[in-house]
């Protein structure tokens, strides 16, 4: 399910989830929040034990499908989905009131709460508490019940500057082994550029372990899906669509997302507004311009080094048609974008990535790339040869 905290009269998609948003913001103490989250856990366990979902044909066939169905984003009618949530949740909550999650074997249910417009939690604080206290209480309450929070900040209201010591938290080559040791909230990848001048910094001090991932799913907690499922999910998040990439049109924002997921490229302060990248395409907002001009806040955005996003981007660029479409949009973006020297750096990075990709594809023509990963190793000499030939 998705909790959208934006004001009731605000426009935008997804529409506000009145039921949960109201209940979340009404909580004034951590025990109240724990009680609310407990009811969510109880309902989930109850549904797990019953055949109610199966009978209603709501049990999805894949984890990805489950995610989108629970969010309600794919519901044919949002209002109907809200009514369903409101009526069904109260009813199920009463029926599940006797369930004790502590008496339930661990791992039988895993709950993700996706909270959109999480910046609202910073604004709404209990009386006489410092700003951001509600957000911290929500995090603590969720953690105490084993709920994974996925917080997004679609309006880029919060700027964050991830630690530069943890510049990559997603170990590609052995993430199966590491997944079990990973804390539920991952640190956003760092090695992002320093916060630009004139930027309002995040008013809260988050420790590295629990730094919020703004607008990002939690890759490692999903690693149980396996790398190929994870990559499919990453493609959906990168392109902001659950539809197959081959049916999608590559627009300028998607092109920027595809390229930036592999190459170090900073957007902001120029003609191209990167806020859609943050809102819908997995970019990290690294800063916000203090003096706002126009209705939208001006932000700086970039992509951290996330191998799973790079994998997703490589898969999308594997099609010549999509590659050319991406390049066409990129050239147009550059007319209003970074300086010439940076264009050269990005070109070289792209050329290197494409050379590597082509070798991976050539290494085993019998297996489709949908069953292999682009992180596969390739011979260095073959790469050098292809890298230089690519420019011709």
């Amino acid at each position: 399910m998705l909790w959208c905290l934006r004001p009731a009269d605000a426009a935008g998609h997804p529409p506000r989830s009145e039921y949960f948003a109201d209940r979340l913001q009404q909580c004034r103490s951590e025990p109240q929040l724990r009680a609310l989250f407990l009811s969510v856990v109880q309902v989930a366990l109850y549904l797990r034990r019953t055949t109610a979902l199966r009978e209603a044909n709501l049990i999805p066939k894949s984890p990805t499908q489950r995610f989108w169905e629970l969010s309600g984003l794919e519901a044919p009618n949002w209002e109907a989905h809200q009514v369903l949530v409101r009526s069904r949740f109260d009813e199920l909550s009463r029926a599940a009131a006797d369930i004790d999650p502590r008496a339930t074997p661990e791992g039988t249910v895993k709950i993700f709460l996706c909270v959109d417009q999480a910046a609202e939690l910073v604004v709404h604080s209990p009386r006489a508490r410092p700003p951001g206290e509600l957000l911290n209480m929500v995090r603590r309450a969720a953690r105490s019940l084993g709920i994974t929070l996925v917080l997004s900040d679609t309006r880029c209201s919060i700027a964050t500057s991830p630690s530069d010591q943890l510049w990559n938290t997603f170990p590609v080559r052995d993430f199966h082994r590491d997944a079990a040791e990973t804390p539920p909230l991952q640190v956003a990848p760092a090695c992002t550029p320093p916060v630009p001048y004139g930027v309002r910094a995040l008013p809260l001090e988050f420790d590295a372990e629990h730094l919020l991932i703004l607008g990002r799913p939690l890759w490692l907690t999903e690693a149980e899906w396996g790398p190929l499922s994870l990559r499919r999910f990453a493609v959906a998040k990168l392109l902001d669509s659950v539809h197959a990439p081959k049916t999608l049109e590559i627009d300028p924002v998607r092109a920027a997302a595809i390229v930036s997921a592999r190459c170090s490229l900073i957007f902001g302060g120029t003609g191209f507004d990167p806020s859609p990248l943050v809102a819908s395409h997995m970019a990290t907002c690294t800063g916000r311009v203090e003096e706002q001009i126009g209705p939208q806040p001006q932000v700086f955005a970039c992509y951290g080094p996330e191998p799973v996003l790079a994998e997703a981007s490589a898969l999308v660029l594997g099609s010549r048609k999509r590659l050319l479409a991406t390049f066409t949009h990129l050239s147009l973006l550059w007319k209003q974008g970074p300086e010439r020297v940076l264009q050269g750096v990005v070109i070289a990075q792209l050329a290197a990535c494409l050379a590597k990709d082509s070798l991976v594809r050539l290494s085993d023509r019998t297996t489709s790339m949908s069953r292999r990963l682009y992180t596969a190793e390739v011979p260095a000499l073959d790469f050098l040869s292809t890298f230089c030939e690519l420019g011709r």
Partner: protein, 181 residues
């Protein structure tokens, strides 16, 4: 197989192959894993651990991206056989790298003298960036963007100076030989 192809290309181009191929030999069993780039902001030298970590996370690095002389660092894994005892053979992993110096095509780019100077600089730069890389496990590459016929349209495609495949390979190997530690 590529070595044989390079050898043939040298013969075709009249270059002396032996020295180049000997210097390339350590790379015959080397591999790359990167899928994406990330920026290295500080000037701290890369340790073997850091290069290995980059390799395992499929990351390559951009060094000083906003400078006039941006460079890419591509981590490389070398697998080296070593003998111990009578019949025991061990495979050892060493991590090296390829330093790619990106430059724009210009009046001096095609000058052999400039190329030699650039390669010498690259050699020194690679040592500064990653002194932990053992000799023969690092290499450098000059990557020229633009070209005589395309210098005005530095947009979508990266150009090695326009030449045939064999010439490109010969040029690449020549640069490699100049820059191999």
């Amino acid at each position: 197989m590529l070595l044989a192809h390079l050898l043939a290309s040298f013969r075709a181009s009249g270059l002396e192959p032996l020295e180049h191929c000997q210097q390339l030999a350590p790379f015959a069993s080397a591999c790359l894993s990167f899928t994406h780039f990330t920026t290295k902001e500080d000037a701290r030298p890369l340790s073997q651990y850091e290069i290995r970590r980059c390799y395992m996370k499929a990351a390559a690095l951009i060094l000083e991206p906003t400078s006039d002389a941006p460079q890419l660092f591509l981590p490389v894994r070398h697998q080296v056989s070593s003998h111990s005892g009578h019949h025991h053979q061990h495979q050892q992993q060493h991590y090296g790298g390829i330093l790619v110096h990106i430059r724009n095509y210009g009046p001096r780019t095609s000058s052999k003298c400039d190329e030699q100077q650039q390669a010498d600089r690259l050699l020194g730069r690679l040592h500064d960036v990653a002194p932990s890389i053992a000799p023969t496990f690092g290499a450098g590459l000059l990557y020229t963007l633009g070209g005589r016929s395309a210098s005005s349209r530095l947009v979508l495609v990266a150009y090695v100076a326009p030449c045939s495949v064999l010439e490109a390979l010969a040029k690449l190997t020549n640069v490699l030989s100049l820059s191999t530690l």
